[in-house]
Each structure stands twice: as structure tokens, then as C-alpha cells.
């Protein structure tokens, strides 16, 4: 609970973190002694079968839930997060939803709007600022959520100059509802922002190629209880392409390992 | 008084105004003409702030809280206030009206014996009319009880409801004050079976009187006297020219409620009420005794409830007879 605990070379650290939902006989062990760390400016991808505890892990890191056991520490004034569901505020317009990311900063109304528009352009939703969430398609909503999370993690209050790494960004299947093209374009944008802002990213996906395309490290979780099975460092040069051979090769390797894991658990 | 002296926001030292309560009701005619004709304003010399109430409890609450100094009121709330405050809160300083209470029944009921098994309404459990009815029935050998059982079923309900239930036949009669008695007779073809006046010595019993807060009276003896002067003049006006007075009363009622009484009801009711400065102390104690007898009240010590000395001084100054508090 002191600064000593937070190593300057770690942005996020989980040490033997376990999480049990419910009590006693009905309790469900979602995470079992997971240890994991993200270095400042590192891009870590999390892979695992459906229901293995990825979202649970992100909630714990974001401080939305308490671990049953273990320690979690994060550096950076703020942790930005993109949920698995869009989690937009239905009473706000699309633009206002993105503007919420700047609320804490105390920007002027006009500035907030301008910056929100930039991020909406980024996710190809330029003309939709005045719509309400219910008027968007599923994928468009997801992109609004993406815009909000990116806006938050690149806002000045979440990364201060003194920090070695920038803010922490948690993303839970951010591109799940998007077509391959849009996805590819957004991969590039995300990579750019990550580098510019020196973000520390923890990224959940089901798409192994995507993980390899983006990550510095891919972490594989087993299911029920979620445990770290293996960590794959990705040492390919950037920029990478999702359809490049190297990516495909490493992805195939990880997929095999994942398949093994999933099948072992009767999935 | 040991307590309550701080209750008056106006301060009892030297009151700059008089706060007077009354009901927009024909039995409060003294106050109605007093205000309408400006008697209070004329005599008091300080501004008179009037408040009207639609029932006794609110008036007593206002007296208790020191929001008013004096009010016209019926005998029951006065007795309650006296009893609850153990004789500390109020005094009766003058009478205002007498009579005007009747047992009105349906056509076809001709004697007390016919009342057996019938439903008779009174304004409220344990009030003077309720007690009077029970005592009277008792004297006629008819049993009642406080829960509405017995030979005659007594149903306490608001007078307004009595008008309605008598018209629809839900009740067979009612022991009620004016103007309801007259309305029952005129509008619903009721028939008077008993005039309460006939049950009392000199055909007199109190229906309205004037009470004041004790600590106000103590601090403002002069104002009290002036109030009584105005009161006496109003009573005189009512008795000197009943026809004009009746009109004045109706004008006042209309101003306060937007609903004047019908002329025939006004005439009938006005005729049945006697306006007097005498609080008819004997009827109050008598009624309390009756209440004890029919089992509605624990014996109360009403000794000291009257403070008629200022009234008698005022009357003496005008050469009128003094009034006894027994």
C-alpha cells in the first residue's frame, strides 16, 4: 500500500489474485492465483475461452471489484476502460457520451465538444455526434465506447508527465462487433495512440490474430478457474499486418495451445 | 402562569393588536356582526386581526400555541381545553348564544318511544348535543351506549353528513344545532320532536361563548375590557334589531364562505337562537354532570373556568344586571 509496492517498471501488477463469486458451496472460483504484470507502455493481450475470467480480471484491475485474495496495483492517476458491452449513457447524445471522458479535466464546453468530435472522426462516426445511442447499430455503439475510452486515456489528467508510462487502458473485446475492414483501420489508430501516449494496455480478445497483430505479449488463460497457462512474447517488428505470414504463424501456434486448453476443459 | 407565557409571539407585555377567532356560523352571530359592523375596531383602539375556523380543535390549537388571544367557541372545546391544561390555559369571559338545538326526526316518529331501534345522529361523540341526547333518552327509559348500540343507535357524524344521510334515509333523526336543524326541517321535511331549551331551567343553555387565553388576559386587562364592551354592544345590536342583524349575519357569512344561508333557513335559525351575554354557567356544569351520568366523562372540576368580573364591570358601567358564574 506504499509507493514501494509499485515498481516504476510496472504499470499494472497482479500478484496471486483469486476471485470467488458467491459464497460457500455455490461459490464460483473465477480466477485462481493469477499473477501478471504490464510494464509501462506495454501492450498485453489476454486470450482465453468464453467464461474463463477475462472480464473479471479487467474489473479487478479497474478497481470495480475486490479480489478475494491477492494484491493488485496500478500506476497512473486513472485507469480507462472499455467494457465488453458499449455501456453508453442512454440519456446523452453520442458526442456527450464521449465528452464524459473530459469531465474530470474541467475543459470548456466548446473544447470538450471539439475533442469529442476528433475521436468520433477517428472511429468513423463523424456525422453521428448528435444522435442518441439507441439510434446506432451495434457496431457503431461499440465504436462510440472505443472513442470514449481512447479519449479518456489520452486526456491530460490521466497521464502526467512525471509518470514513466502513460495511463492504463483496459479493453474488453473492443472490436468484437466490427467487420474486418473497420477493425483493421482501427488497429492502426489504436497502435498510433498507444505509441504517442505511451499507454499501458491490457487487451482482451477472442481473435488470436488480432492479439498477435497488436500485442507485445499474449497471455493465455485457462478456464474455470482462470489461471495463466502461458505467456507468448510477440517479437515481430511493427508495423505488423493481420494477414502477414509471421502473424499467421504465431497465431496458429497460440491457437493450438488454446485449443488444447479448451478441449481439456470439456468445451 | 408557570408556563406558556412565552407562547405568544406578539408578546403579552402591551399587545399592539387583538387576535380574535370565530366560526363563519350562525351561532357565532355575535362575532360576525361585531366584525361586520366594526364594533371591535371601534372599542379596542388597536387593530383587530380575525381568524376564522371551521371546527373547535383548530381554534383550541391556535389558542394553545398563542396564535390567537380570544375566540368564540362552543362549550365542549372550552371544557376540553380547561381540563387538558388543568385550568391553566383559558377562561370563559362571556356568553354569546343560547338555544338553537333540536332533535329533528323523520315524519312518523311522534314520541320518544317510537325511537326504539332507530338511528339518531349527533355531531360528535361526547359533545354537548351527544350528551344531551343520551341523557334525554335515558330519562325516557331508552338505553344507549357509546358504541352505537342499545335501544337507540347513536351515530356520531359531521353535521354536513347528517344532512345527507337524513335526506337519503340512512338515519332517522338527529340532535343538531342551527342552522342544521332548520335545514333538516325545511329541506328534508323533518319534524322537531324535542327543543333542547325545554330541558333546561329558564329555557336557556349555552351554545356559544367567548374564551380568552389566561396569560393574555392577565397582561392586557384593558384590552379585555374593551373586547367585552364590543361584545356587549354586538349582543345588544342582535337583540335590538333582529331583522337587520340577521341580514348583517348573512352578509358576513357570504363574505367568508361565498355561500349565504337561504332566507327561510336564516329566518328560522335566527329566531331559534337567543343572543345573550350570560354564559349560563348552570348549563355547562349541568351538561358536564349529565356526561358523567351517561358515562362519557370523568368528573371534571370546572371551578374557576369563568372569569366574569370584567364582564360584570362592563355591564355595571352600562347599568345592566350582573351575571353569575354558577
Amino acid at each position: 500500500m506504499t509507493t514501494q509496492l509499485v515498481d516504476r517498471t510496472t504499470a499494472v501488477r497482479l500478484e496471486a489474485v483469486s476471485k470467488v463469486y458467491g459464497h460457500g458451496g455455490n461459490g464460483l472460483l473465477a480466477l485462481d492465483k493469477v499473477s501478471l504484470s504490464v510494464r509501462p507502455g506495454e501492450f498485453v493481450c489476454l486470450l482465453g475461452a468464453s467464461g474463463c475470467g477475462k472480464s473479471t480480471l479487467l474489473s479487478l484491475v479497474a478497481g470495480l471489484d475486490k479480489p478475494t485474495q491477492g494484491e493488485i496495483s496500478t500506476v497512473g492517476r486513472q485507469v480507462a476502460m472499455m467494457f465488453q458491452e458499449p455501456a453508453l449513457f442512454p440519456w446523452l447524445t453520442v458526442s456527450a457520451n464521449v465528452e464524459m471522458a473530459f469531465r474530470a479535466e474541467g475543459l470548456s464546453k466548446h473544447e470538450r465538444r471539439t475533442r469529442a468530435a476528433e475521436f468520433l472522426d477517428l472511429v468513423h462516426l463523424g456525422g453521428f455526434g448528435k444522435k442518441r445511442p439507441h439510434e446506432l447499430s451495434g457496431g457503431m455503439r461499440q465504436r462510440v465506447a472505443l472513442a470514449r475510452a481512447l479519449a479518456q486515456s489520452s486526456s491530460s489528467s490521466s497521464s502526467s508527465a512525471e509518470d514513466e508510462g502513460g495511463a492504463v487502458l483496459l479493453m474488453d473485446e473492443p472490436f468484437g462487433a466490427l467487420d474486418a475492414m473497420t477493425r483493421d483501420l482501427l488497429h492502426d489508430e489504436l497502435e498510433r495512440i498507444w505509441r504517442e501516449r505511451a499507454l499501458s494496455v491490457l487487451f482482451v480478445t477472442h481473435n488470436v490474430r488480432e492479439a498477435v497483430r497488436l500485442g507485445d505479449k499474449v497471455v493465455l488463460l485457462s478456464s474455470r478457474p482462470g489461471k495463466v497457462v502461458e505467456e507468448f512474447p510477440v517479437e515481430l517488428a511493427r508495423p505488423r499486418r493481420t494477414d502477414s505470414a509471421e502473424v499467421a504463424e504465431l497465431a496458429a501456434k497460440i491457437t493450438d495451445r488454446l485449443k488444447e486448453e479448451v478441449l481439456r476443459h470439456g468445451h | 402562569a408557570a408556563c406558556g407565557s412565552s407562547a405568544s409571539p406578539a408578546g403579552d407585555g402591551a399587545a399592539k393588536e387583538l387576535r380574535l377567532g370565530y366560526f363563519p356560523n350562525i351561532t357565532h352571530a355575535t362575532a360576525l356582526v361585531g366584525v361586520e359592523k366594526g364594533f371591535y375596531a371601534k372599542h379596542l383602539g388597536v387593530p383587530v386581526k380575525t381568524s376564522t375556523f371551521n371546527a373547535g380543535p383548530a381554534a383550541i390549537e391556535a389558542v394553545f400555541s398563542g396564535a390567537i388571544d380570544a375566540t368564540y367557541i362552543g362549550p365542549n372545546p372550552a371544557i376540553n381545553a380547561w381540563e387538558k391544561s388543568k385550568g391553566k390555559a383559558i377562561n370563559i369571559v362571556a356568553g354569546a348564544a343560547s338555544g338553537g338545538v333540536y332533535l329533528v326526526v323523520k315524519q312518523g316518529i311522534n314520541s320518544p318511544a317510537d325511537l326504539k331501534g332507530k338511528k339518531i345522529a349527533t355531531p360528535q361523540l361526547g359533545n354537548t348535543q351527544d350528551v344531551a341526547l343520551r341523557y334525554w333518552l335515558d330519562s325516557k327509559g331508552l338505553k344507549t351506549d357509546t358504541k352505537g348500540g342499545g335501544d337507540v343507535h347513536i351515530v356520531p357524524q359531521e353535521n354536513a353528513q347528517t344532512l345527507q344521510t337524513f335526506a337519503t334515509g340512512d338515519i332517522d333523526g338527529a340532535w343538531v344545532p342551527e342552522p342544521f336543524a332548520s335545514r333538516l326541517v325545511i329541506e328534508s321535511k323533518g319534524k322537531i320532536l324535542q327543543d333542547e331549551r325545554d330541558l333546561w331551567p329558564n329555557k336557556q343553555f349555552v351554545i356559544t361563548h367567548l374564551i380568552v387565553r389566561q396569560d393574555w388576559a392577565k397582561a392586557n386587562p384593558d384590552l379585555l375590557k374593551k373586547l367585552l364592551e364590543a361584545h356587549v354592544e354586538a349582543t345588544k345590536y342582535l337583540n335590538d334589531d333582529p331583522a337587520a342583524a340577521a341580514q348583517t349575519v348573512n352578509t358576513a357569512i357570504q363574505k367568508l364562505t361565498q355561500k349565504p344561508l337561504k332566507p327561510e333557513v336564516l329566518a328560522s335559525a335566527f329566531k331559534n337562537i337567543t343572543f345573550t351575554n350570560d354564559p349560563i354557567a348552570s348549563s355547562l356544569t349541568g351538561s358536564a354532570d349529565h356526561a358523567v351520568k351517561v358515562g362519557l366523562l370523568k368528573p371534571v372540576d370546572l371551578n374557576g373556568i369563568y372569569n366574569l368580573k370584567p364582564l360584570n364591570e362592563v355591564l355595571a358601567a352600562q347599568g345592566q344586571q350582573s351575571i353569575s358564574d354558577r
Binding site: P90, W91, A101, R132 | E61
Partner: protein, 284 residues
């Protein structure tokens, strides 16, 4: 053979009542809202007249529409009537506004602070069930025979249900939105202002509507408490009509109260519709 044609689907859709014919002109849309109301009124009037004609009760016990509207017409011609309505509305609006304030503060505190909730949560409904007349003596003790006494009774009547509306709204705020707000860096008051309050708005609005009804009813009773000389009010008129068994007067006053209630409801309804439209919920 089971055949599902376009026609059947439209029928299914109408059952869902998700769609209105949105291309209709304004006139016809207004008409669509007005004619059922007019029909309802006409039906009530006819039924009422029929009951009176049946002769079950004499007119002075149960006045017919003709007598009532004649009486009401007279009153509508009298400036004093408008004064009375004005007085009552002024009191209602003042009292309600204060009650909203009190309800908001109490609701906010109780809904988010566990200790306060355990201490006072149940008390709020307890207070809500307390009839207005019980407060009268206290109102007079505290405020004397002033309008404040009436306002006091109105606030005690309305604030609990406004607070309860807010509490329900807070309790049913979707956890996902709370989490989103938390992640965006909102804490305590900010979380309240930016997430919980807007998310509770529908329920809060429902609470306001109920609160208005409580406020109004308390006011009708409270106006008898302090009758300010020569300042008539609706509550007083209602009581006097009843006191005098003045059937046309009573029914007339009831109609006035009903009309005011309906107008107020329309204001709430408009707010609610706007809210629903913004949230993307089925418009009426």
C-alpha cells in the same frame, strides 16, 4: 398451411404498439389525442345525467350536470373564484417546490449512505402514511396561523414520496452504468450528478407525480387549518360545500380540482414523453 404474410406481421406489430403512423399531420395527431378524451367526457356526462334522471336521489343530495354547470358557471363569472384558484395554486407550487428540494436532499442522502438508509429509510414510508391532520397541531405550534403552517403540512405530505421515487431510481440504476461512471473517474457527488441522477430520472419523475398528488391532497386539508380572512381557497371551498351539503358546489369544486389535476398530469406526461424519446423508449 401456415402462411405468414406481410399483413399478419403488421398486425403483430400493432399488438406491440411500437409504431405510430408518424407521417400523419399535426392536426390529425392532436385530434387522435383529443377525441377519446371528449368521448370519455361525453360518456361520463350522459351516465351522470341518467343517474339523476333515474330519480334515485333528490337533486339537492346529488346534483345533476345541468345544475352543477349552472352553479359552476356562476362561480366562473366571479373574480373571487380565480383568486381562490390562484391562492391555492400559489401555495401548491411553493409547497411542492420546497418538497422537491427536501425530497431530493433526503432521497439523495438516504439512497447512497448506508447508515442513513438503515436509520431513516423505513421512516420515510412511515411518514408518508401519516395523515395530514396529525400534523396540524404541530404546524400551528411551529408557525402559528400563517401560510407557513400550510406549507409545512404540504411539505411533510409530498417530500417522502419524492424521496422514495429518487431512492427507487437510485436502487435500479443499471450497475453497468455505475461501473462506467466509476471508470470515467466520477466519485460520490460527481457520480451522483452525472450518472445516478440522470439514470434515476424516470423513477424520480414518477415520484414527483405522486408527490404532486400528495402535496395537493395535503393542501386541500391544510387550507382548512389556516383560513386567511377574505382570502378564499379551493380547499376551503371544498370543505364549505361539503359542510353545507351543497351538492352542486361540491361537484363543481371537484370538477375544478380534476381539471387542474389533469392539466398538471399533462405537464408531467410531456416531460415523461420527452424523456422516453431521448432514451429511445416506445413513445406513446
Amino acid at each position: 398451411m401456415a402462411v405468414d404474410t406481410h399483413a399478419r406481421q403488421i398486425a403483430g406489430l400493432d399488438a406491440l404498439e411500437l409504431a405510430g403512423d408518424q407521417r400523419a399531420g399535426i392536426a390529425s395527431r392532436v385530434w387522435a389525442r383529443v377525441w377519446p378524451m371528449l368521448t370519455a367526457i361525453a360518456l361520463v356526462l350522459v351516465a351522470w345525467q341518467l343517474v339523476v334522471l333515474s330519480g334515485r336521489w333528490p337533486e339537492y343530495v346529488f346534483a345533476g350536470p345541468i345544475t352543477t354547470f349552472q352553479d359552476l358557471g356562476h362561480r366562473l363569472g366571479d373574480p373571487e373564484f380565480y383568486q381562490a384558484v390562484g391562492t391555492t395554486m400559489r401555495r401548491a407550487v411553493t409547497g411542492f417546490a420546497l418538497a422537491v428540494l427536501v425530497g431530493l436532499v433526503v432521497g439523495a442522502a438516504v439512497s447512497r449512505v448506508k447508515v442513513l438508509r438503515a436509520a431513516f429509510g423505513a421512516l420515510i414510508t412511515g411518514l408518508q402514511t401519516m395523515p395530514s391532520i396529525a400534523w396540524f397541531p404541530f404546524a400551528i405550534l411551529l408557525f402559528g396561523l400563517t401560510e407557513s403552517a400550510i406549507t409545512f403540512v404540504v411539505i411533510l405530505g409530498a417530500a417522502p414520496s419524492i424521496a422514495n421515487g429518487l431512492i427507487t431510481g437510485v436502487d435500479y440504476t443499471p450497475p453497468l452504468l455505475l461501473r462506467a461512471g466509476h471508470v470515467l473517474g466520477f466519485r460520490r457527488l460527481q457520480l451522483y450528478r452525472h450518472v445516478i441522477l440522470p439514470a434515476s430520472l424516470p423513477s424520480f419523475l414518477a415520484g414527483l407525480k405522486q408527490g404532486w398528488a400528495f402535496a395537493w391532497r395535503s393542501l386541500m386539508a391544510g387550507e382548512l387549518l389556516v383560513i386567511i380572512a377574505y382570502q378564499s381557497s379551493l380547499g376551503e371551498q371544498l370543505a364549505i360545500s361539503r359542510e353545507l351539503s351543497d351538492s352542486p358546489g361540491l361537484i363543481g369544486t371537484m370538477i375544478v380540482i380534476l381539471v387542474i389535476g389533469i392539466v398538471i398530469d399533462m405537464l408531467f406526461e410531456a416531460a415523461d414523453s420527452a424523456l422516453r424519446r431521448r432514451w429511445g423508449l416506445n413513445p406513446v
